[in-house]
Amino acid sequence: MRPYLSIFKMNFKGELQYRGKAISGVMTQVFWGFLNIYLYIACLQNTSVDGFSISQMASYIWLGQAFFAIRFIMMGKKIGKNIENGNICYHFVRPLNIYSQWFCQTFGEKLSSVLLRFPPIIILGLLLPAGLGLSLPVSVPAFLLFLIGLILGLCMSVTISMFAVYLTFKTLSKRGSSSIVNTITGLFSGMVIPLPLMPQAIQNVVNYLPFRFITDLPFRIYIGNVGITEGAIFLAIGFAWLIVLIIIGKLLIRSALKKTVIQGG
């Protein structure tokens, strides 16, 4: 466990160094938040959606901006590049499991960028007037369940990132692979449009796909759109998905490594 912890720590610290990046990241998220909220206000003005009022929608959007780093699928900064240029061979000579190594690396980067960025956005959201800002959670149990959901979301996000790593391995194109995985994830995780605003038929499918466990579920528990019991059941489904996806990811990476031809010898 020690070496993996060190890898995590290295990447966590590395990310903390970029002050300017974090500050400008927060500003970008705030701007995006306003953009989305005004768009959906324009939508919800004439037609209302059950269990998703304008103020609930605003909370959902602000949570999404605050925890944007969880939602965005990115592989560890160097992983994709190293696969493309062949430097990845250094990773093979370490006495560590490749999947776990990359998992920790990505997890470290992701967690530190979440921790750096969420407090200012949450504070700003809470200061804005209701209907435009972030409301408090509907109840204490809902809030606790929301926190558990966030941890699940963080793990799920990293797990799905590993599929982008796998695709990069197969295609040797980091850019193409990330954008495929991000498009699919974005569409079905509620990042592009909140899931409650999708047509009911589509929601019935998307609710059971792994993508919505990244952040959609915890956010909906927070705003009260999903109740405590229902939320707990869904969380269990989410954890089941997580285990399945980690196993599939490990198997895929292992098979890819066996066949891999490293670029540049």
Partner: protein, 332 residues
């Protein structure tokens, strides 16, 4: 006649962020950041005459690259004036850059994925070189460097040495009056190194090209020129003949000795021990003491039992190391 390069009292300052150290430094750096001004060049002046080859040497971070960047018009100096071939580098950029060629030893100006010839043809168009002149120049470079077989291959397939040959050719296609070479022999094998040196000499003779060369390899300097400029900590420390410096230090001899038995300490009047391990030792004479073989043999045979010894001249690299040390350029 005016010098082709006239560098007058040039200063260059950079602002760099200051990083805090110690506990919570990551967090501290995150919230507070201070800047400090680094003086990369301090009142640097020198002249270079047309057709000369000048070695520009100094330890890492001395200001060599900054000087080259100012001379090629990439950076503006903070204060001071500079004329090169009648131009001020940072004015009239388009006209000025026609008279210079630059080779950065660790970067490339040629395209990675396409045959070298295509890159050359693009350079022909960039510099608007007439076809006939282009062909003549290329033939000449071809003969001198042996490029024939390389031209139709993409750059990525070439070895480091072959790449450097192509880089050199690429920066000479427009026949610049002045050529800046930033570490042109870095990483090259012995044979290629010699070829590159011969080529630099050839071009200098053929076209009377003025060449400014930065390098860490003192054998480059020995092979190419007697004129050096030594820079350290942003200041010019020495300008002039390389032989002069060599003569100054050539009185120092390095003596390797093999003893018949182990001694705890070697001490000889006027000599300094460089290394000592078991029966072997290396010593040198102190600067104020001239080396006399008779005196040395007398001294050593009185105190110790010697099997063999060998006297060597100090090497060029050691001279440079000593120079750096003398000027306080070596970090401890």
């Amino acid at each position: 006649m005016a010098s082709i390069i006239d560098f007058q009292d040039i200063c260059k300052n950079f602002k760099v962020p200051l990083r805090a150290k110690g506990k919570f430094s990551t967090l501290k750096n995150f919230f507070f950041r201070k800047h400090k001004t680094i003086k990369a060049l301090k009142h640097v002046s020198f002249q270079v005459e047309e057709g000369d080859i000048v070695g520009y040497i100094g330890p890492n971070g001395a200001g060599k690259s900054t000087t080259i960047k100012i001379m090629s018009g990439i950076l503006n100096p903070t204060t001071g004036s500079c004329t090169i071939d009648g131009f001020v580098p940072w004015q009239d950029r388009k006209k000025f850059v026609r008279s210079i060629g630059v080779v950065f030893g660790q970067r490339s100006q040629l395209w990675w994925d396409v045959p070298v010839m295509d890159s050359f043809e693009l350079l022909r168009d960039i510099y608007k070189i007439p076809q006939q002149e282009f062909e003549n120049t290329l033939n000449l470079l071809n003969e001198a460097l042996g490029l024939e077989e390389l031209l139709n291959r993409p750059l990525r397939q070439l070895s480091l040495g072959q790449k450097m040959k192509c880089e050199l050719a690429g920066s000479l296609l427009h026949r610049p009056k002045i050529l800046f070479l930033d570490e042109p022999t870095i990483g090259l094998d012995a044979v290629t190194k010699l070829a590159v040196r011969d080529f630099i000499k050839f071009i200098n003779k053929q076209w009377h090209t003025t060449i400014i060369l930065t390098t860490h390899d003192m054998s480059d300097i020995e092979a190419l020129t007697n004129q050096i400029i030594l820079i350290g900590k942003g200041q010019i420390l020495y300008k002039g003949s390389f032989d002069e410096i060599k003569n100054k230090y050539s009185s120092t001899k390095i003596i390797s000795i093999e003893f018949a038995q182990e001694y705890d300490e070697i001490s000889l009047d006027g000599y300094q021990t460089i290394s000592h391990e078991r029966k072997f030792a290396t010593i040198k004479n102190l600067p104020d003491k001239e080396f006399h073989i008779k005196d040395f043999v007398n001294q050593i045979s009185k105190k110790y039992e010697v099997i063999d010894f060998q006297v060597d001249m100090i090497s060029v690299d050691e001279i440079l190391a000593q120079l750096y040390k003398e000027y306080g350029l070596v970090e401890r």
